[in-house]
Amino acid sequence: MKEQLALLPSYLTSHVQLTLLALLCSTAVSLPLGLVVTRVKWLERPVLALAAIIQTVPSLALLAIMVPLLATFNFQSIGFLPAFIGLTLYGILPILRNTVTGIANVDPALLDAAKAVGMTPSQQLYRVELPIAMPVIIAGLRTATAWTVGVATLSTPVGATSLGNYIFSGLQTRNHTSVLIGCVAAAILALVLDGLVRGLEISVRKRQLRQFFGLIAALGTLYLYLGFNLATTVFLPSIRPVTIGAKGFTEQYILAEILGQWIENETGRPSTQMQSLGSMVAFDALVAGDVDAYVDYTGTLWSNVMGRPTVGGNRTNVLAEVRTFLASQHGIQIAATLGFENAYAVAARAPDAETLGLTKISDLIPLGNTLSMGGDFEFFSRPEWRSIQDIYGLTFQEQRTMDAALMYQAAASGAVDLISAYTTDGRISAYNLRVLEDDRFAIPPYDAVILVSEQAMRRWPDVFEAISALNGTIDVEAMREMNLAVDEEGIAPERVAASYLAKLRTSQSPDITELNKPPPSPAR
């Protein structure tokens, strides 16, 4: 709890920064747009329809789609910018719609009166239409505020720190305290900001000038501080720490901690993390130079980045091909091979496997139609799954997609019969599951490799060297133990990482696998 709360100032600041700047922009866009639309009638339908369409895109997808979109135009595609743009778009509809409704609902008699007393068109707008529509517009702003605070928690996977960091990592590592802190902090923030907007509205309506200017001054100060904060991060990249990426699951949190702590210890350079990134977001961030290093898996790179439809043979060949491809296409180096595989595997409840005599995937062939299978969000659209279907000719009675953190429990409780387990997951044994052998080699190898970006390599040769020293230092058993320590014993990833590194430093000869020494980097 204490450790978690120590993160609050940085998470909260980023969250407030994102929320307030996005709200400012949503308002700056939608208020004038709303006024234009009420003046130019034919625009109303298309503009409102467009805003509504943006709103129907699920918020997580809206933020995620900003990443490749921004990358296409060579903007910073990870971190503040995609989250900020996504949130701004998301906040537009409520303010826009309420502006249009508010203005449209002004009694026509009042407009006649405004004209008749001799107001110019702009005086009609500022002295009559806007003040009368103000409560409705403010209501829209309040809706947008609540939404933006909530949706901002989803900016974690696109690399922007927010209160969502608590929620995403907490959900993955089953740390309920962390999830709770994130939710409660977001709720309190939403209430405070709503109160602020409400206070502004009341002071305007009741003409309490002192209160109004007090609130404006408070808001202004906040914006100045946030703007300054942002400016320093944007315009002073020289003080930038080594940025380690982590996808959104336990193993990645641990490995990112190991990398960060190792680099800080070996080179004395500060490091920071971008946590809970989407799988492709992490790679894109590395290519763009927003992330300097992270751990990925050869099988993932093989299918997602290289776009190979087929399973790529044995571990050595796949690794070699991935290495060549990354270096030649993106200038990315595989600095180290950690020494374990985190592959997909098909797992069943051990007692069931016993009674049905299941030891390998081909044993499922006669049973396929009676069984149900659970997979993580991507499994059923991945080539492994197609490959399993093709090679074993398997079809199941039911396929269910679920969160990876819940999958093991689902199998143990009998909600599904089989799951797409990860071979390093400590919960396989913890939940008494059995991995079925892939006897026809349908599943590709998934060696964990540390990727380092071209930019980072040039900027920090010492960092690259330090990372290379991690080659072959973690085997499957070690990784499984660490995962289990976080997932089931509730130990924080940074502590698990620290104690592993301590053990590593004392043992003189780390376990070396046959995949050890990387061939010399291809010349560039």
């Binding site: 009166a113 008749a116 007393v117 001799g118 005086q123 309506r205």
Partner: protein, 264 residues
């Protein structure tokens, strides 16, 4: 002097006002009278350009109003209508002060004018000036509407069924008030109504309109004595018939009730 010259308004193929020409000399109280859709409100709104004419012109004091800037023209013409249209986000005083504020009067001059006007329309300045207009009765609201229209000392006033939504007693009080006021301020007034009794009571001259055209114009007495056609005769006869009907209901005199039946 207000002069309507061949004033015409078309909405698509529909003729709302058809080649209307009327002169209103300074200080005259002219009533535009007619049924719903006869074009009387459209005519009135063309005087201060709330509606732009399709043809013809309006001349005020020898100047073509089409050549004036609309909002400047309107600041010189008082306008009051049935819905009153007081601004709900402003106090009574701010509502009355709106045109002087637009004209850039000094705050002190505005405050004095507001007090003056509240007194003129018979309302307690101290009690009402900081109130919200929505808290007032219909009669009080319309008095404030009149005060707002008079704030910048216009010489011309346009009134569009200003008392139509008020109860009969309040309406009579305000009619008397207006009759006195216009002499006090020697206003030139164009007043739209479909209430014949109201027209007869207030008007110097009545212009009777039907389907966008002028049927007859003249003093109430002249129209009553010498109606130009059946429509005018029937229209002006309506209040008398109503009075007879009321009397029949009270006294039970059946003969006059039969008369009414036959007239229908």
């Amino acid at each position: 002097m207000i002069e309507l010259r061949h004033l015409t308004k078309l909405y698509g193929d529909t003729v709302a006002v058809d080649d209307l020409s009327i002169q209103v000399p300074d200080g005259e109280f002219l009533v535009l009278l007619g049924g719903s859709g006869c074009g009387k409100t459209t005519t009135l709104k063309m005087v201060n350009r709330l509606i732009e004419p399709s043809g013809g012109s309006v001349w005020i004091d020898g100047r073509d109003s089409a050549e004036l800037v609309p909002f400047e023209l309107r600041r010189k013409i008082g306008y009051t209508f049935q819905q009153v249209g007081l601004f709900p986000h402003m106090t009574v005083a701010e509502n009355i002060a709106v045109t002087p504020t637009l004209l850039g009067w000094s705050p002190r001059k505005i405050q004095n004018r507001v007090s003056e006007l509240l007194e003129l329309v018979g309302l307690d300045s101290r009690e009402l000036r900081e109130r919200n207009p929505t808290q007032l009765s219909g009669g009080q609201q319309q008095r404030i509407g009149v005060a707002r229209a008079l704030a910048a000392k216009p010489r011309v006033m346009l009134l569009d069924e200003p008392f139509g939504a008020l109860d009969p007693l309040t309406r009579q009080r305000l009619q008397k008030f207006l009759a006195r006021l216009r002499h006090e301020l020697s206003l030139t007034i164009v007043f739209v109504t479909h209430d014949i009794a109201e027209a007869l009571k207030l008007a110097d001259r009545i212009a009777i309109m039907q389907k966008g055209t002028l049927r007859q114009i003249g003093t109430p007495a002249a129209l009553m004595l010498d109606p130009a056609d059946d429509y005018v005769r029937q229209l002006l006869d309506a209040p008398r018939q109503e009075a007879q009907l009321v009397e029949t209901l009270v006294t039970g005199n059946s003969s006059s009730s039969e008369n009414i039946e036959r007239d229908k």
